[in-house]
Amino acid sequence: MSPSLERGINAFVNQIDGPIASYFNSCVHCGMCAHACLFYTETGDPKYTPIYKTEPLRRAWKQNFTFWGRLLSKLGLDKKITDEELAEWETLIYDGCTLCGRCTAVCPVGNDITYMIRKSREAMAASGHAPEGLKMATTRAIEIGSPMGVTIDTLKAQIKHTEKETGLTVPLDVQGAEYLMLLSSAEIAQFNEIIGAVTEIFDRAGVSWTLSSTAFEATNSGIQIGSADLAAELVQRIVDSAERLGVRTVISPECGHAYTALRWEGPNLIGRSYSFEVKHILEVLDELRADGRLQTSGRESARVTFHDPCQLVRRGGVVQQPRSLLNMVADDFVEMPDAGVMNWCCGGGGGVSANERANPLRAQVFSRKKRQLDGLQVEKLVTACSNCRNMLEEGLEENHMEDIEVVGLTELLAEYLPEKK
């Protein structure tokens, strides 16, 4: 059966569980989430208030699980969820939310609003109200293996290129390696220097690692569009490959949502725990630093700042690691206002960047990042997420701030590795 309103409404009901019911019950309508959301603060439009984005889900809860709601529903006095309404909410739920988690962090009653919106997307997708761009990205992820259509052949070409450049072997499908490194398609297609950076760092640190030809893509479009079934399929590919190779740890690359998908949502999606650990590349690098295995020589003289990927700081707690790593090489490191746990989102995560319709809105809300950068007078903007990196590069260009160079932290560190003995 194809997507339909009926299927969508059924999916809303299906998404309601204990936490969701208690969240709706506890909301005190204080509006603090509005001021935490860059889509509200940068547009001033109250429709972007995070909790308002969950309105269809709230109605489904009210009409099916509360006494008065059921009574009104029986009497036909309630407002039914309609296709027109879902079409309207589509732009709020997909274009106007990056699942960045800021609203959750400020909610005084502890409602995980981000999770509520994430759950709403399940019903939106089931009712056929998902953006075209995300549908296509998800289709490519399932059928080709990556949302940008990158194939293993593309990766193999990049591996060859890296090997030629570094003179090192890039391990592929090595049975029994300690770490399995994943990549995001943006890294394979655009920021391929990362492959060389990781290869060099791991070589110097003596790390046993590998890439996998059956699981190289870390990102999960299934989660972004809101389909647990498709998301589980994508997670399962990684789990199967990791367990087949017998690795102890799977490394999520410089990508925020990939990390959340694999580390936090993954086990729930496939219904069991992993036989391996999942870490973000920054966590692994910081462990190597603490063990003395990651050494650097020389210092970066440019003035740098760090953009915290939302999923790392708010959903993952990776706050100190990038700072410890940056301090190894940066002489002039300045924090932007609101840095760390409450840093503002790049505006393109959670599937927004794959949704072309959202481009003008995304450009508008970049004003927040621009304000954060204004006055810092930095030459380099370091981050640890290839999607953030893309968004930052675009945003800076549009705002005529191209003199700020955007770099990935892993690459920056690789530039300061000591000469090989």
Binding site: V13, T139, I142
Partner: protein, 364 residues
């Protein structure tokens, strides 16, 4: 001789202005005052001469004094305490006998002093169960409170009666508030700083507020400063996500306990207890009881000693609920179960008609 101001005294004791300002900023944030208040607090406190404080200890264990003075190495908190003029305190004063009582009388002569009380006051049998210098506790309290500017009841015994008042209460122990209510002592502005013992920074914070603004801070319905007792332990507990997720430790040594799950089913009283433990923490901000694996026992609430076992979950009945109450509970339980079953059937229906999504669903 003029008394030195607090700022001068602090400087003399090697406390830098920076450390003092940090204390003021922390106090402002703890009390939910805007950050811009910190300099105002610093200015007001810095100019103050040492106000006279009379500390009366009655039926108590000295735990409240220990909490304040012996908890850790000297900090701004306990130096602040050195810097109010603590003119009478059983445990801390050097004077004894008549000299000690004379000190109390002298401090009272100036008026406008603060009275800090720890411990409950026995009133049964003419108050004979606790006397000091030949005076019953009740007489001493009535005499001292008469000209006081305000009274601070430190600890649960003074605030609510505490352990001495626990059933069967052989000494007829009463709280300061109860004595004011029945007219046994003069009614004065009263601040209850409950807890067994109270958190040191809460005691000093309340004093700082009083010294800064000259007023009693905003209080809750039990006379406790809202700034510190406004939230429940549960609201601010770091284990709250496990409660929300329905993950509970069932025994103190099971898998759940090791994983740090919610202690609700092991009797944690966090949901009904108001205090700042989860935010201010103990032992210089190291941790609070739930962090060491034990549930909250609800020590800052009235009658905590008579509120049933520390190890029974809050949802378990504490008293005899037979008869009418039993019927009402049964009816409520049936209605609740019916609502729950209905909700479950709604979910089952939805789950049964759910269809797996495939990639074809994404193609138009």
């Amino acid at each position: 001789m003029t008394r030195p101001t607090l700022a001068q005294q602090l400087a003399r004791q090697g406390i830098s202005r920076r450390a003092f300002l940090k204390f003021c900023a922390a106090t402002a944030s703890m009390m939910a005052l805007p950050p811009t208040m910190a300099p105002a607090i610093a200015e007001a406190l810095g100019k103050r001469t040492r106000p006279s404080i009379i500390w009366l200890s009655f039926q108590e264990c000295t735990g409240c004094t220990e909490s304040l003075t012996r908890s850790h190495s000297p900090t701004v908190e306990n130096l602040i305490f050195d810097l109010i003029s603590l003119d009478y305190h059983h445990t801390l004063q050097a004077a004894a006998g008549e000299a000690a009582e004379l000190a109390r009388e002298q401090a009272m002569e100036e008026g406008g002093y603060l009275v800090l009380v720890d411990g409950s006051i026995p009133v049964a049998d003419g108050g004979v169960y606790s006397t000091i210098a030949g005076m019953t506790n009740l007489d001493m309290l009535a005499h001292t409170v008469k000209d006081a500017a305000a009274v601070v009841a430190i600890g649960t015994c003074a605030a609510f009666g505490g352990i001495p008042k626990a059933d069967p209460n052989p000494t007829g122990a009463k709280s300061v508030a109860a004595l004011m209510a029945d007219g046994s002592i003069a009614s004065k502005p009263l601040i209850n700083v409950s807890g067994c013992p109270p958190i040191p920074v809460v005691i000093t914070g309340v004093l700082a507020h009083y010294l800064t603004f000259g007023t009693v801070p905003e209080l809750d319905d039990l006379g406790r400063p809202r700034a510190y007792f406004g939230d429940s332990i549960h609201d601010r507990c770091y284990r709250r996500p496990f409660y929300d997720a329905g993950k509970f430790a069932k025994t103190f040594d099971d898998e759940g306990a090791r994983k740090g799950w919610c202690l609700y089913e092991l009797g944690c009283k966090g949901p009904t207890t108001h205090n700042a433990c989860a935010t201010a923490k103990w032992n210089m901000g190291t941790s609070f009881p739930i962090e060491s694996g034990h549930g909250c026992i609800g020590c800052s609430e009235p009658d905590f000693w008579d509120a049933g076992s520390f190890y029974k979950p809050l949802s378990a009945a504490t008293g005899d609920l037979s008869g009418l109450a039993g019927g009402a509970i049964a009816a409520g339980a049936v209605a609740g179960a019916a609502a729950g079953l209905y909700a479950r059937s709604q979910k089952h229906k939805a789950a049964a008609s759910r269809e797996k999504m495939t990639v074809d669903d994404l193609k138009d």
